[in-house]
Amino acid sequence: MINFSFDGKTYQAEKGDTLAAALLRNGIGLVGRSFKYHRPRGIMTAGVEEPNALVTIGDGGRTEPNTRATDVFVYEGLVAKSQNRWPNLSFDIGSVFGLAAPVLSAGFYYKTFFGSAKRWMIYEYFIRKAAGLGNAPTKTDPDHFSQRAAFCDVLVVGAGPAGLSAALEAAEAGKRAILVEQDNILCASLIRDGQDRDGAWVESTQARIRAAGGRILTRTTASGYWEHDLVTLTQRIAEPGQIPLHGVAQRLWHVRAGQVILATGSIERPMAFAHNDRPGVMLSQAVRTYVRRFGVVPGKRVVIATNNDDAYKTAYALKAAGAEVVAILDARPAPAGADSGLPVYNNAVPLSTNGARHCLKSVTARINGLTQSWNADLIAVSGGFTPVVHLHMQAGGTLDWNDAAQAFVPAASRQNVTTIGGAANPDPVFNVVPVSKPKKSFIDFQNDVTLSDVDLAWAEGYRSVEHLKRYTTLGMATDQGKLSNMAALGRLAEKQGVAIPEAGLTTFRPPYTPVTMGLLAGAGAKDAGAHVRRLALYDVHAAKNPIWQPLGYWFRPRAYPAGNETLAQAAMREAKAVRSNVGMTDVSTLAKFEVSGPDAAAFLEIICATTVGKLAVGRGRYTFMLREDGFVFDDGTVWRLDENRYLLTSSTGGADRMATHISYVRQYLCPHLRVSAVNVQEHYAGIAVAGPQAKAALAALIGEEPPRHMSTVPAMISGVPVIVLAASYSGERAFEIYVEASHAGPVWAACEAEVTKQGGALYGLEAMEFLRIEKGHLVVGGEVDGRMTPHDLALDKMLNKAGGYVGASGLSRPALSEAGRRQLVGLEAIEGNIPEGAMLITGEGASPQGHVSAAAFRILDGGSIALGQLTDGFARHGEELIATSPTRGQMARVRVVAPHFYDTAGERYRD
């Protein structure tokens, strides 16, 4: 026996029991409360289509609400709780809503809760308290989710007899075959239908499929069918709430199949009659499943209501199990066949049920126009069979109407999918038109939609099935209308006076059954979805306990606080070290491309909007790049390392975009050039050394005179070859040292030792931001925001006058150099500190004329400064404006100035 608990009480289950079977085994019929009216609900089905028996499984972060009790297998220690009830399941205050059902009909919210948005905020609180399903867990899920790809020639969905046979045939034909089954055993329908003598066949067939190389996945649901025969499978490795072996709870498979065979069977339909949602009302095949598969008899006195032959099997099963079948209500006018020895009533349909203490007490039926009642504790209903066509429709397939079965069946598909078995050939049934009072005749059990709701929607003018669905919420619950859609269509067709196929059909969309959000996130569920890129010198930085900052896909040190320094204090100290002495920082993440070949310069003059060809060996220059529409999208430096070899650097955040751009130019615009452009972003780690003492520090490191500004030399540091670029982002004399990443450690250590010796400090991104703002250097994503041309950024004088670069044509459009454009400006605070991101306005109530892209403080002199974009900004130097950030309640008076606050002549670069 297996111990589990339900609402705090411990029970025993048999091995292999679903929670539903275990609850029935322990005599528990009341399992939940309905979504809207809090009506008592029990177990209706034995499969994934269950609309009523929704429970919360597990504790803490493993809590899984709204789990179908029919779709979880009991394990030792399973904890289940009923939901949407207070104070307890049996006595639920919320059931008062049932009394108000006449006024809570379809469209209630639309008709009642109108008025101002503020009033809705009040309504919403009470609505959310009153209605709903389970509560989402508040703790982090401790488990992991895996995602795996698979490829096969044939994917078979559904391991009933048809699916098992199809998989065997494919596997033994030498095809790569995958068979998936949402249950934990194969061919459960054979057990249900008393054909378990075929168990040996099932076992041997499984063995043959595996021997032929086929893969069989149980507890796996094909949840979505996408383009190009991509099918997603949801595999439960652990049951809901269960501690998984090795931490992986579920796996999402992405299967690319050459052919998909759907052997998905059908779902039995309920019938619409008054109080058909009461505990003790079950589907016929479900009753048979509990009796034959689980050895549980859900009732002692049973009424069976049917419009087909299949329900008779349930009667035999119940009788064999010792239950009394008191009546078979067969809607068909004549006996189905030979005398079964059962109390069969033809032309008989159920009208209503009565109950007490949440149990079924009696069933009333109309038989040949007369009314008759039976005491009973269970009614097993079978209203026919709805083929599971969800995946077929998701694949873009169409449906045909099968009049004999009163069901839609799969027709043509634009993908390579075939449906076999019961889903393609459902059993014939007799069409039954509901005769009960519609107000308590439920068709969508999960959303509490009755026949009268459909009637009301029709009366109020909702003609389209899509409108009706949304107005009544029919089919929009977590079961996606698996039991309800056909009943609603039947009612709508009846109202329209047309046949069901003419009434229309809603669309089936993935997922077939609910999918845990964590599964969609996969292994990255706890890590923002993707890995964080790690610096080559990560361990070196981590040892200094910096404040980290995400930048692009990277994490970089933002500052290295000493003692109890705040971020701002640390960053300002670091920036002052650079301005007054020397600092060093890690610039490894900058994009870097090595461009080689006789046509390298020509290639770069297409990529870059500045001239490159005249660059002497050993020299470099600032450059920027345009999109084809003429707007600046990145900037950097280009260095001539050798006669035919250049190094191009660009921004960290734009690195991938730049790689794509270079590839585009190489492959599409210039396939004829003799050039190789290789992404070496990660090959080189980069160290920047900046400040008045940088030259002295570098001279000590390389043992020779450092290169002059915008020059480059190869050198050795600590026996490791490096490339030294004399370039400055900080506004000070500075050098970037590039070293093969795998050898970066000793070079960093040597640099740090020398900088420390000079009395300098490490600096992070925050100090770098202060320094570059003060100097007026651009940052991609800030000043370069995709809307600025070289003219707007005052870079136009650097453009290659010969043209020929990407974006030259776009840039020639007159609108890009007309008056009225936003232009780069500097801003000095007159009063207050300038808020980053603030709007620039001329006075209160005026329209924004620009914004602040970056703000900082003067490093040595104090005072708030910023860079910004301002309409016609070049001509407005000296003008006073207001920088306002209403969302933060911050404001400053500012003066427009040139965007350079420090060493405007660039004298500090020169020796």
Binding site: S146, A530, S676, E740, A741, S742
Partner: protein, 163 residues
């Protein structure tokens, strides 16, 4: 029990070899010098001293001693060092194919992906290049910045491969 072992291989000189002109002549010169042909798309070839994996139409990843290659390429191509950007990871054991399906989009379980084959693919958002050494060993070339994360990902995934 899973049958895959994840091992980080020592750093090795790696280069990108690109040919932009006269590919037939370069291929002939290469074969004469190296003793084996430049591998075709999706293939790798080589020996203990030099191995090439073709991963773009005109680009090969070169592992080993490249001292003879610049002269051989002349003005028809270039060789660029990229060894600092790549971590080589060896996946060994019968389970390496299944492991590569975790977070993957490439059919590493195909019997056609056999010894001497190579591929460039995405695994758990990371661009990885693969080279099948033999039935029991596959080498993966992982970007340095993602290598810690990928190795952790693989080691974690390896624990649950057979579930």
């Amino acid at each position: 029990m899973t049958d895959v072992t994840i091992t980080v291989l020592p750093a090795a000189p790696l280069h990108a070899l690109e040919i932009w002109s006269n590919p037939t002549a370069v291929a002939a010169r290469f074969k004469k010098a190296a003793g084996f042909a430049l591998p075709a798309i999706g293939r790798s070839d080589g020996n203990d001293a030099l191995r090439l994996i073709r991963y773009e139409p005109t680009v090969w990843l070169v592992e080993g001693d490249v001292s003879a290659l610049p002269g051989l390429l002349a003005d028809d191509g270039a060789l660029t060092a990229i060894g600092g950007s790549v971590v080589r990871v060896q996946l060994s054991g019968k389970g390496w194919r299944t492991l590569l399906m975790e977070g993957g989009v490439f059919d590493a379980e195909s019997p056609n992906f056999a010894s001497g084959c190579s591929a460039a693919t995405i695994i758990d958002h990371v661009n990885v290049r693969l080279h099948v050494v033999d039935d029991d060993i596959c080498h993966a070339y992982v970007p340095l910045s993602y290598s810690e994360a990928m190795i952790h990902f693989w080691k974690t995934a390896a624990l649950s491969l057979t579930l």
